[in-house]
Symmetry: C2
Subunit: 463 residues, 2 copies
């Protein structure tokens, strides 16, 4: 019986056109990241299991793919290794391991797959690529700004014009919750509820806060704040002018409201001040209109300590990417804290949206070769190989039909594959040092001297 | 306590320079493969475990990394998934799954990591990249020839000039063993012993054949053949002339001896005929001098059915790559046979040799950025971000120093990283619409108008 031939659940095979599309997106992201001075890093797909456990919260632990011990230990049913779950924890490990080889500010990008045993759904896979940029070693808000600018440039270069980078701050959030009267032990539960404001609305969040045993008074204060923030935001959009465009005006208004609510709450006020700094820098970095201050943005990962960001477009429920500051994670490996901040673009979702919107350049669908050399007969196969060699040396991409089928069948194959040129070296042509060159697009066929063949094809292709 | 920070056993982190070297090699291999009309394919790192089990022999099964079932099934200690062990079995699965979407001759390349729980050693890792090219759908020896030519071109383009592609044929080997009187059931055991001829010599192989219960008479006949083949090979090398260079003369002589020994053994003679065909085609494809007929080459994998190849250089014990024809493997997935032949280059070993021989272009060690913009003070940070943005728009790779440290410290950082240009925008310069541009290589510093900055840097870099 033949074996199953589908890929494993939630995993995908990428046929040539899909690989080309993925490589196109990766190439552009990489070029932009490099223009910001980020350098490439790669880490193994497999990590020691204790490197990953306890870094992603309860849910994360559950979704990690674990690898059985080998040999005589296989029977124990225990795992000692696990598949990479994100690119941030391996970076933290790397910064700890190679601290003396890396520059004080390590700006790295990493574009590699990660694996999560999540329930597969539309746009959610068990193997997917992340495109991360991170800077370690600095607490400056220049870092947050440059990360947002790099992600923004990458999306623009891919052809996106309608995305928004939502911005918030974990410490501002903490101040907000404190001021509203949510107890510290309930902060995390409150954040999970708040994060759904967009999806389930004010009353939905109120119900969820109650469910999570947060007092009705605290809930009311929180929801009042968000209602007022939304109001000042809307009002400010209409007063924008040349010196302060609508998005900037609205961000300033929300920032003002936030500071008012948080007052002299120390870490909260520091968070708001960092947000103000990022918004100011963003104007000068040319991405002011992209940033939208959103006090309800929470983001799931537990390791964030400062600013958090998320990129959205209107026609996608999830985000195209996100990130934030995590000043304590490297310390879990190194024993002393190293500040860090990062941004991750989700390759799969970018590709989903680009495919739906038809954003890929059409030349990715071009035939994989410029010219196919036919094989006249068994005795002529050598001549075809020699021709192919000469054409490749001239820089062309060349296929040799591998069988001595009838020429009509060989031409049909070339046509089906969209190959623009076909070369025939029959005995008559060979005797004259010529070949027949057929332009499959025009149907025109002509005799060309062997020596002139590569040039003839290149000239036709350039037309 | 800080966690362990080394990568898992046998796995490696690749810091920026190493990634650049790997990408350089991969880019060249990919370009050459594409010039032969191969198209990219990618498959998941994780396969259903039954896809892999039973395809690589006993040893292979043992070396497969197995993934624990998840959720409530985790406790069972059972595995349902496994890590990719090579790129050939996934290709066979893909050809079976997408048979109606793929062209009749599917020429694909695939450059991805594989995982084997092997004992780590010099040049042997548990995660390593393979660079495979395969053609499915044809039994023509044009395929073998093109595969050898592509691998040869790739190595030449990387700067290798001293490699040899050893060539043999499973059916010729079978005929040889039959004729020598080795029983069919002992063929595999005999091949394992023969494969070591280079390493352990004639008497070593004789002892190993005896150990594997192969009769002394059969062993004697086999070893006689190899002794004679080596003699005709050496003799022929001296009679090579312009019309038949030494390698071709020696191949022909060995081929003649092989045919003589195998006689009218049907499949054996067919194998020899295919070898003759490949050697003839190879002359026309321009790789005649690279191919060396080696009747003792066996190769480990059990799925080969026809020609087998292996690439060696003198200063590496193992091979740089290898491959062969496997006409039955796809049938294990599809239920009907589809002929196939492939070649795999080993990225890690290529990099080991290139590193030892100093074959990488020096510009891979260039600084990752063209220019660093310093930050004068907190108030000037925005101006630095705006400058960086303008320089990036002009196509330069730009770093912004993230902190308001003393300028001397910022310059020191740029020097340590080998960054060729540093820009300072102090208050005086800013007032004049200028910046100070320092060429870190010459030490020369000059005032440049903001608008002229990108051009000034580009001109200096081009010099």
């Amino acid at each position: 019986m033949a074996s199953r031939t589908q890929p494993a659940r939630g995993m995908r095979d990428f046929l040539p056109l899909e690989v080309r599309r993925r490589e196109y997106v990766i190439r552009i992201i990489r070029e932009v990241y490099e223009s910001y001075g980020f350098e490439p890093l790669e880490t193994p797909a497999v990590e020691n299991i204790e490197t990953l456990l306890g870094k992603y919260g309860e849910e994360g632990n559950r979704l990690i793919f674990k690898i059985l011990k080998r040999g005589e230990h296989e029977k124990s049913g225990e795992a000692d290794l696990a598949l990479r779950y994100d690119l941030t924890v391996p970076l933290a490990r790397v910064v700890a391991e190679y601290q003396h080889q890396l520059p004080p500010f390590f700006k790295r990008y990493q574009i590699q797959p990660v694996w999560r045993a999540d329930r597969p759904a539309r746009g959610r896979f068990r193997e997917f690529y992340q495109c991360d940029v991170d800077v370690t070693g600095s607490r400056s808000m220049i870092v947050e700004t440059e990360l947002c600018a790099a992600a923004s440039d990458a999306l623009e270069k891919l052809g996106f014009s309608d995305f928004i980078i939502r911005l918030n701050h974990r410490q501002a959030l903490g101040g907000l919750l404190d001021r509203a009267g949510v107890e510290r032990a309930q902060h995390e539960a409150a954040l999970v509820a708040l994060d759904k404001l967009d999806k389930i609305g004010v009353e939905g969040v109120r119900a969820e806060l109650a469910e999570r045993a947060i007092s009705a008074e605290a809930a009311q204060r929180l929801l009042n704040f968000f209602r007022e923030a939304a109001e000042v935001e809307r009002a400010a959009e209409f007063v924008g002018d040349e010196s302060c465009p609508p998005q900037a005006a609205s961000n300033r208004a929300v920032l003002g409201r936030l500071l008012e609510f948080i007052g002299d709450h120390e870490s909260g006020a520091r968070g708001v001040e960092e947000l103000r700094q990022i918004l100011d820098y963003a104007e000068e970095a040319g991405i002011g209109a992209r940033l939208k201050l959103d006090p309800s943005l929470a983001r799931g990962l537990s390791y964030y300590t400062g600013a958090i960001m998320e990129i959205n477009v209107s026609d996608l429920a999830g985000s195209l990417g996100g990130g934030g500051r995590y000043d304590n994670l490297i310390g879990m490996f190194l024993g002393r804290d190293v500040p860090a901040c990062g941004f991750s673009l989700g390759l799969e979702r970018i590709i989903v949206v680009m495919t739906e919107r038809g954003m890929f350049p059409p030349d990715l669908e071009r035939a994989p070769v410029d010219v196919m050399v036919t094989v006249w007969d068994a005795a002529g196969a050598g001549e075809s190989l020699a021709l192919a060699r000469a054409l490749r040396r001239a820089g062309l991409r060349v296929d040799v039909y591998p069988e001595t089928h009838k020429l009509a069948k060989q031409f049909k194959y070339a046509a089906a594959r969209g190959i623009p040129f076909v070369v025939v070296a029959g005995p008559d042509e060979r005797a004259r040092g010529e070949v027949a060159l057929k332009d499959m697009r025009s149907g025109e066929q002509r005799a060309v001297h062997r020596e002139a063949l590569a040039t003839a094809i290149k000239e036709s292709l350039a037309r």
